[in-house]
Amino acid sequence: MALFILRRFGVMILTALVLTFIVFSLTNLAPNLEKVAKFEGNVRMTDEQVASWLDRNGYNQPVLKRYGEWLGVAPGWTHMEEDGLRGRCIETGMDPADAPTFCGVLQGDWGKSTVFKDDVGPIVAERLGLTGKLMFWVMVLMVPSALLVGVLAGMREGSRLDRSLSTFSIASTATPEYVSGVIFITIFASSATGLKWFKGTATAAAENATFENFFLPVLTIALYGMGYIARMTRASMTEVMTAQYIRTARLKGVSFRNIVVKHALRNALIAPFTVIMLQFPWLLNGVVIVETLFNYKGFGWTLVQAAGNNDIELLLACSVVAVFVVLVTQLISDIGYVFLNPRIRIA
């Protein structure tokens, strides 16, 4: 087991390295660097000004060297200026002599965001916290209702209840967030219908989340994931319900209620567990759209800002987080699976 986990972590680090290098080289293409220079300096800079800006800020080095700097295995660049030495590791107001040679991820320095003018570490931490809050409520809403819908639908395959719940699940999965979100805002939050039950923006929810301002984004994400989990649960449930031991129980005269609750449910929940864990990376996807739509300043919104403005170091940090989330949830699902399903442990 320990070896398994260790190997998983090895893969995770390797994946993170490869992915960040790809992101790094893409963001460091010449036109993208020009964009950075113009964003930092002035959109109306001339070509000469851009070249001089890039040179002064250490962008004019080989990509591998720069990637090494970001990682913290190559010494940070320095540049002699009229007002003294400037460099990657020299903070404003710092004596160059005191500055460390290396300052990268390995040293715990994630760099500076050009969009937000702040250190990347705290930005990502804060935004992840906000997205975590959103995800938590999404899970609270999505998981129980998805399981309930799935189990109810799967109890009696082909019944009217099954058909209607299945239609609902397929409809909700087939409606992307950017469609359902807009519809919800129009119906429940605008003067167009006059309902105005909720708020069409979740900006204030970052500080003070209430049912009113937070329910629509939560619902939008939850509905999308819910249908999928419900379908999986239903499939798993119908399979279990046709198993031999259920038939035996029936023949013995156990009540339908008891069959479902005591005999079928536990076995039927093994498959959805994996699906739910796999939903985490999917949710990261969904928050990009929903956070932008509802103007909720979490991780997804930050990713959009970083990508739109070619904010290299923030993008890299976001990729690391994404890799981490995907692989950690997979790890948890693998380990959890082992505990839920004795057959795998034995095999």
């Binding site: 036109p31 020009e34 964009k35 113009k38 964003f39 300096g41 002035n42 959109v43 109306r44 800079m45 001339t46 000004q49 001089s52 800006w53 050009t114 969009v115 937000f116 003018k117 702040d118 805002i185 939050a189 605008s190 003067s191 105005k196 708020k199 069409g200 923006t201 900006t203 204030a204 970052a206 301002n213 932008t292 739509l293 103007n295 300043k297 919104w301 800002q305 739109g308 403005n309 070619n310």
Partner: protein, 555 residues
């Protein structure tokens, strides 16, 4: 008896001249206000001359309250590098200007008490306001102003737009301020000496990058300084998160020089809702904001319908759709031929573009980038709209088969306007391809696209924008236009002359622009903002300035 000039001295001859011209009906009220106040006439006296009474916000303003304003919260820089009006608005309650530009076209002193301009506009005497203090207790003196002027003239600052506004104060050889061009005879007087006449200095220092900083803080990003940032204004920073929100609060340890007439609000919050008007609408519906930065297109009517009060400013802000004469496409310069450019302009009916692109909220423009609200605008005969003639001209130039690619931003009205132009060009029989780019990509190459749309904000004087964008060596020249006669006539127009002579020069400049088919300029925009009931003094400013130190809630 009110003073006629800010200094109480006799009026500058040019101001007298403008008064005469205005009375004779040769000048519009707005241009009279701009010109007369530039030469040191008080706004009140100018109003008296113009025979109007200034509009004052009715009712009393209650002290206290919080204003929540929707506005993009950009990453900040030092003031000279500000490139969006929003950035200027952030620090407006902390860093003040020497002079401000008002919605009626007049200039009024802020950190100055008055200014005088000599006979031929080569010497400016700035009399600084007495008793103004920085929020650390230092006196505001001429040393501060001199340090700021030096910083404004410094061309070595990458991306600083101030040297362009300083004109001949900058020494082209050193790239710094011309030696001996500024004098500070005492603590409250600054004298500027210019080698050539220039009447745009006052307008230049009223613009948002010209925020006055403490003499020790030139080139400092004041947001990084947090609550301890030095300024003369009544407010201090409480919190700033880019893309999210900024909070300014009344500084409890500082007495603002104009405390009797402003600083009503205890707290001002700028909240970022991105650029999508639908999101901004959602914020208004959710009652999360009291004021929006700008309302565009259909949303003007929608917000009206929600019961918000609308304010409108007519401006010389515009969009131009221009071919670039020197950009190469596949080894040839498609727009070097004047016939091609003229054919394009001829095929487009600007009135239709205004209707489709901007919901008729503005005035039709005439392809020469001089606005009727600018002083010295000359009316030209109407331009013919002739798609058949345009096609014939294009045929003559042998460019009928060429595919024109028009780039534009993907923001609402910019995109729609360009689409309307493209549709009319297609109707005339030309091949047109549209390319829509997001802002973050678009501005990288805005000057170099073969054919694209650019938005321009207004500047108080008509010649300012011509100098910035159409002279052969202009930094922001995006048309590739280089015309010796144009450069020369513009230089002549920049020197003072009486309105009739100046108008003649302007007429010639406008004609040259049209004759050469330099730009397709469909319309001048009217701009709007909305506030909820009870917000006072938050009217739309033609240059998007929000002076929150004067905004308040009605009592």
């Amino acid at each position: 008896m009110t003073k006629r000039t800010l200094t109480g001295k006799p009026m500058h001859w040019a101001a007298e001249l403008y008064a005469k011209e205005y009375r004779a009906g040769r000048m519009s009220r707005r241009e009279f206000m701009s010109y007369a106040t530039t030469f040191g006439m008080t706004a009140a006296a100018a109003y008296t001359v113009a025979g109007i009474r200034p509009a004052h916000a009715g009712g009393h303003i209650a002290a206290g309250g919080t204003l929540r304003c929707q506005m993009e919260v950009h990453g900040m820089t030092e003031p000279r590098l500000y490139q969006w009006s929003e950035m200027g608005n952030q620090t407006r309650g902390l860093l003040e200007h020497l002079v401000q530009y008002n919605a009626d076209g007049s200039f009024t002193p802020v950190l100055m008490e008055s200014w005088e301009i000599n006979e031929d506009a080569t010497e400016y005497r700035l009399n600084l306001r007495q008793g103004v203090k920085w929020n650390n207790g230092d006196d505001f003196t001429s040393a501060d102003v001199a340090a700021n002027f030096e910083g404004w003239c410094d061309t070595s600052i990458e991306g600083s737009s101030m040297p362009g506004r300083m004109g001949s104060l900058v020494d082209p050889d050193t790239g710094m301020m011309r030696a001996g061009s500024i004098e500070t005879p005492d603590d409250h007087t600054v004298i500027l000496k210019l080698p050539t006449p220039d009447i745009t200095i006052v307008a230049g220092i009223a613009d948002y990058p010209a925020a006055v900083v403490h003499r020790s803080k030139v080139g400092v990003n004041h947001i990084d300084e947090g609550a301890s940032a030095l300024g003369t204004g009544a407010y201090m920073l409480e919190d700033y998160s880019v893309g999210e929100k900024s909070v300014w609060v009344k500084n409890p340890n500082h007495t603002w020089w104009n405390a009797e007439n402003g600083a009503f609000l205890d707290r001002v919050e700028f909240i970022d809702y991105g650029t999508d008007p639908a999101t901004i609408l959602a914020a208004v519906e959710a009652e999360e904001v009291d004021m929006v930065y700008e309302t565009t297109g259909d949303f003007v009517d929608i917000l009206d319908g929600l019961g918000l009060s609308r304010s409108e400013a007519q401006t010389a802000a515009t969009i131009i759709c221009r071919p670039n004469a020197i950009t190469e496409v596949d080894g040839m310069k498609p727009y070097a031929d004047v016939r091609v450019r003229k054919a394009l302009a001829m095929a487009v009916d600007n009135a239709i573009v205004l209707e489709l692109g901007y919901a008729s909220r503005g005035n039709v423009a005439e392809n020469h980038h001089v606005s009727p609200i600018h002083p010295a605008y000359a009316e030209l005969p109407p331009m013919p709209v002739d798609p058949a003639g345009a096609a014939a001209l294009m045929e003559e130039a042998g460019m009928m088969e060429y595919e024109h690619e028009i780039h534009s931003l993907d923001d609402g009205w910019e995109r729609d306007t360009t689409d309307a132009i493209a549709a009319q060009l297609r109707d005339a029989g030309f091949n047109v391809k549209r390319t829509v780019l997001p802002g973050s990509t678009y501005w990288n190459d805005w000057q170099k696209y073969p054919f694209s749309s650019t938005t321009w904000n207004q500047r108080p004087f008509g010649t300012q924008v011509l100098t910035l964008a159409y002279t052969s060596n202009a930094v922001w020249n995006e048309t590739g236009f280089a015309n010796e006669e144009f450069d020369q006539v513009l230089a002549e127009a920049n020197a003072i002359a009486d309105a009739d002579q100046r108008r003649e020069k302007m007429r010639r400049l406008e004609e040259i622009m049209q004759e050469n088919g330099v730009i397709i300029q469909p319309f001048w925009r009217s701009i709007y903002n909305h506030t909820v009931e009870g917000v006072v003094n938050a009217e739309m400013h033609p240059q998007f300035e929000i002076k929150y130190q004067y905004i308040g809630m009605s009592a």
